[in-house]
């Protein structure tokens, strides 16, 4: 890099350290420094390896040295992940210790001990590295104002992960709170390269907003694993290529294998160990593992003590594990941005390209991997859509505010609407949210004597918490991430991590499953604890986790569609892929870029309808729900559906004879209004809303509710509320969430408008090659509709009657 003689950073306290390391300042670091110094809020866009973390700290460190022995909190650093927060500390430690700078810094996350937290509150460090949830908690303490009144900078790392979700809402509200405490506060955002940079700026910046951008000209080297084995038609586990993956690990010093789900991580890890003849050090890392296990892996990774780590998105962000030489992505890339983020984990050096190998786990994913590599070459990134803020997060924020002390609702409202996601929040909705926190916000005023917050008699605009005990309930419920009901796994007295309750429900005593890389035998379940012992069983199940499913980006979906239809390319693919596509062409059809293939066949007593929309998971999910209703109307007795990024499959007890009469724009017009009100999706969203808004508690102090109870009571509340108070703010909030989650709704509408002229209907005698992957996903089907329950009961009853040789006359 060129160093301009007038580079102001040559006088920076860190310059000596940079020289010692033989590093020079990047142009974007200089630019950011100057902007921030002159009072701008800045978002910095730079690829991994371009010293992003350091960029954020340049001004704070300069300022802290100049201020000499600054007492109290000066800079807050917000990280999206706990693991990343730990990594930032490790990186900050090096220059500060080596230069012996008098700057204190600490980390504060959900993993920090209560003792440490208490000490931090009494004697805050100059720099605090934390997460959005921990920030929200800090803001809910009575002395929050004193804690933050001198805060100079807030740095939001990986800001691109904070733009389109409820965590972003929570964070935005808390940043505004900090700004109220400390009006001079400056904001610095650090982001990966983004298609819509202006949106990130709008979201974060208030004072003289500036964008600083640095583009890397070195493209990553990404290829698809050249496998001699047969790529399976379906599946997600990449068993076929395990030996070849192992060889790739051996070739590199340090490899991270990224997979898409926790189940895949466990499976991959187990299979690698089965063939680990060279005794390579292989570890596994995912969000359900106990904290200590995770920290151990992170430490070993940064010290280069392992050869390979199998990881989910838990290791995806920003981590600077310098020695990682190669990334192996097993499974579909899902999106361009995401793949780039993962690939960027290798070679944290700008001038050498990152190296990555994509391992498609089935044939569809081969096409997707191909398409992703093309789009990266064309620098065609995915757009991240900003969203309007959710109501439930405001409710939680109101509760938090009340915990910190009495508050004026007018001041609170004007603070909230300064946050970008809430610019359009109506006063009336805000007041309903106040009522929601006060007593549930019901029209029927039954709870006058049991309020949580109350108006002062002398000033109706001032609200106050009823008693201190309530603060504890808020603190148990903080945050916007609602996991599925989870149970703790205990091996002896040791906790291994958390597992979904649904998975355990389907186990019987003595069944074995894989977790944390070990084969475990299910012994018993008591309260929230699953007791297990080690097992030598060769047959074992793998827990699946339904959370965190990433949809295929619209961008990439389009690219896949185009590529699939390009039959001139087929011969360039491995023989097996070519053969797969040719076989599909013979048995059924390969849809052209603008055609919609529909296949129907009978299988195991059920009638299957597969529709290839390539519309991405969100749109397909919506379409699936609508089609269920359509099928029901025609009395086809639908049992359920599964959608993936490419297609939808529905199965029914009766043959779907008139698909063209159902699959058209009328489907939307006829069913959309009722759809939102009746799907279990809204029920699930209502549960999230009820928990986030603190209407129901995920945990009660001293008494851990099992997840099942929360799920159950929220369903009951939903039903009662819908019947008696359909305009309740939480129902409204759930419908809004549903609409926001259906981000591909417009596209679905476009498809349905013209689909009836472009349906290619194929009646088959068996499953087509293209349909195999989605049919196999049916096991993971997660639909739970009342009507479906009825059919299952009816069906089961009939089966039993038949077994007993009794004719069913009904």
């Amino acid at each position: 890099m060129n160093i301009n003689k007038s580079n102001p950073l040559l006088l920076h306290p860190l310059n000596k350290w940079m020289n010692k390391k033989k590093w020079s300042w990047f142009p974007h670091q200089i630019e950011t420094f100057l902007h921030v110094r002159t009072g701008s809020d800045v978002v910095v866009f730079a690829p991994t390896g371009a010293g992003k973390t350091l960029t954020g700290f340049i001004n704070p460190i300069d300022d802290l040295i100049k201020l000499k022995k600054f007492k109290g909190l000066h800079t807050l650093y917000i990280s999206p992940l706990k693991s990343l927060a730990n990594d930032i500390v490790r990186n900050l430690e090096k220059p500060i210790k080596e230069l012996d700078l008098k700057i204190s810094f600490q980390v504060r996350t959900g993993d920090t001990t209560p003792y440490k937290k208490q000490k931090q509150k009494q004697k805050p460090p100059n720099i605090l590295i934390t997460t959005p949830e921990s920030l929200a908690l800090l803001n809910s303490y009575e002395n929050a104002k004193e804690f933050f009144f001198n805060l100079k900078y807030i740095i939001i790392d990986e800001i691109h992960t904070f733009l389109d979700n409820k965590r972003a809402d929570l964070l935005s509200l808390n940043i505004e709170r900090l700004q109220t405490f400390s009006p001079n506060l400056q904001r610095i955002g650090l982001s990966a390269t983004l298609k819509n940079k202006q949106d990130a700026k709008k979201w974060l910046c208030r004072k003289k907003p500036k964008i600083v951008s640095y583009e890397n000209s070195v493209l990553p080297k990404i290829k698809i694993l050249e496998s001699k084995e047969r790529i399976p038609w379906s599946g997600h586990m990449a068993t076929y290529s395990i030996n070849e993956i192992y060889k790739e690990i051996m070739k590199s010093k340090l490899t991270i294998i990224f997979v898409n789900t926790r189940a895949q991580a466990e499976y991959m890890f187990k299979n690698l160990w089965l063939i680990n003849k060279k005794k390579l050090k292989i570890a596994v890392h995912h969000g359900s593992l106990e904290k200590n296990l995770r920290l151990k892996v992170e430490n070993n990774l940064s010290k280069g003590l392992v050869d390979c780590v199998v990881a989910t998105s838990s290791l995806e962000l920003g981590l600077d594990y310098g020695d990682v030489e190669k990334i192996i992505q097993v499974g579909a890339p899902k999106g361009i941005n995401r793949l780039l983020q993962r690939v960027g984990r290798s070679n944290h050096n700008l001038n050498t390209p990152s190296k990555a190998i994509l391992v498609p786990t089935n044939r569809f994913e081969f096409i997707e991997a191909k398409a992703a590599i093309e789009e990266i070459k064309n620098n065609n990134l995915d757009k991240i859509d900003l969203k309007e803020g959710s109501f439930d997060v405001v409710a939680q924020h109101i509760f938090a505010t009340a915990c910190a002390g009495q508050f004026n609702i007018n001041n609170l409202y004007s603070e909230i609407i300064k946050a970008y996601p809430y610019k359009k929040l109506k006063l009336n909705d805000f007041k309903q949210l106040i009522n929601l926190i006060q007593d549930g916000g019901y029209v029927l005023k039954n709870y006058d004597q049991f309020k949580r917050i109350f108006q002062l008699r002398e000033n109706k605009n001032i609200y106050k918490l009823v008693n201190k005990r309530e603060t504890r309930k808020y603190r148990m419920n903080v945050g916007t991430i609602i996991e599925n009901p989870m149970l703790k796994i205990k091996l002896g007295t040791k906790t291994l991590g958390n597992i979904e309750e649904v998975f355990i429900q389907n186990l019987s005593q003595g069944d074995s499953f894989i977790f944390a890389g070990q084969v475990l035998e299910f012994q018993s379940m008591k309260n929230n604890l699953v007791q297990v012992k080690r097992s030598k069983s060769l047959i074992s199940k793998i827990p699946s986790y339904s959370g965190g499913r990433m949809p295929l980006s619209t961008n990439l979906a389009n690219s896949v569609r185009t590529l699939l239809a390009k039959s001139s390319m087929w011969d360039l693919y491995p023989d097996q892929i070519t053969e797969w596509l040719k076989r599909q062409k013979n048995i059924s059809k390969i849809p052209k870029k603008d055609e919609y293939l529909v296949e129907q066949f009978l299988r195991k007593k059920n009638f299957y309808t597969v529709i290839y929309t390539f519309a991405g998971w969100h749109a397909n999910q919506t379409l699936g729900f609508l089609l269920l209703r359509g099928f029901k109307e025609f009395d086809y007795k639908p049992l359920g559906f599964v959608a993936n990024d490419y297609a939808i499959v529905l199965w029914s007890l009766k043959e779907v004879k008139e698909i063209k009469k159902i699959l058209n724009i009328g489907l939307l017009d006829k069913h959309l209004d009722n759809y939102l009100e009746e799907t279990s999706m809204v029920k699930r969203l209502f549960r999230d809303n009820a928990i986030i808004s603190c209407l129901i508690e995920r945990r009660l102090p001293g008494m851990e509710k099992t997840g099942k109870q929360v799920l159950f009571s929220s369903d009951l509340i939903y039903t009662v509320l819908k019947k008696n108070e359909p305009d309740h703010i939480l129902l409204k909030s759930s419908y809004e969430d549903a609409k926001k989650n259906m981000i591909d709704y417009d596209r679905l509408r476009e498809i349905l408008k013209k689909i009836d002229k472009k349906i290619i209907l194929k009646k088959l005698t068996s499953i087509s090659p293209l349909a195999v992957p989605i049919i196999l996903e049916i096991n993971r089907e997660n639909l739970s509709k009342k009507e479906t329950d009825e059919y299952i009961l009816e069906d089961l009853e009939n089966e039993i009657l038949k077994e007993a040789n009794v004719l069913s006359i009904n």
């Binding site: 039954n446 359920g640 209407l695 129901i696 109870q709 009662v720 509320l721 089907e781 329950d789 009853e797």
Partner: protein
């Protein structure tokens, strides 16, 4: 209304999808575990459930009484959730209740939740015997056939790779357990230890409640 015919203790009972049980020969309707006022009792712990359960429950009962016009209504325990529950009963509710009591004999068997609560005009019992049947909240040692509540039974059904839970009527040879008639009430797996201790694990007759129909497994 569809009903499921259940034979218990050599008598015929009708199980309705609204979770009530009807003994036609004696024109007696049986319900259990209404937990009236559960919402208001939760509200004292700042859990603000929708305050409509009392109204909805009374309506549900009144609709049944209008339709069936039984001579007796037996409530096998936990009519009320706790002492706070009466706060959710309004004057009009009492008036309506006494109106219905003119034609139907209300037999309120006390449960663990409402054993210390009195409502004016309500006769209450710890248990109640009709012929060879004993109506009680929690089953006791007796040679009689027992009809009780308390457990809010639900059944886990795994079929075609799908797991669902359904509220159920369930009985063995001697003991019959009603599902909860309540609105904000949860359920307990019939294979849980608590229910197994009472009914045993074998020879159970299970009747899951669907939307408009009671099924038989």
């Amino acid at each position: 209304m569809y009903y499921q015919l259940i034979n218990f203790g050599n008598e015929e009972f009708h199980a309705y999808p609204n979770k009530s049980l009807y003994w036609k020969r004696l024109n007696t309707l049986i319900v259990s575990d209404l937990h009236i006022g559960k919402s208001i009792s939760y509200a004292k712990n700042k859990q603000f459930l929708p305050p409509y359960d009392t109204k909805d429950l009374l309506n549900k009962i009144f609709v049944s009484l209008d339709k069936i016009k039984p001579r007796n209504l037996i409530i096998v325990g936990d009519l009320l959730h706790d002492v706070f529950s009466t706060l959710s009963l309004k004057d009009q509710d009492y008036k309506n209740l006494s109106q219905y009591m003119k034609n139907t004999d209300f037999i309120w068997i006390k449960g663990n939740h409402d054993k210390n609560i009195q409502i004016e005009g309500f006769k209450n019992f710890t248990n109640y015997k009709i012929e060879k049947f004993l109506f009680t909240h929690i089953p006791i040692e007796t040679p009689l056939f027992q009809i009780c509540g308390h457990y809010h039974p639900k059944v886990k059904i795994v079929h075609r790779g799908k797991t669902i839970f359904k509220t159920s009527f369930v009985h063995n040879e001697k003991i019959f357990i009603l599902p909860s008639f309540g609105i904000l009430t949860g359920g307990l797996d019939i294979h849980s230890k608590e229910i197994s201790d009472v009914l045993g694990k074998k020879n159970l007759n299970i009747y899951p409640v669907g939307q408009d129909k009671v099924y038989k497994l």
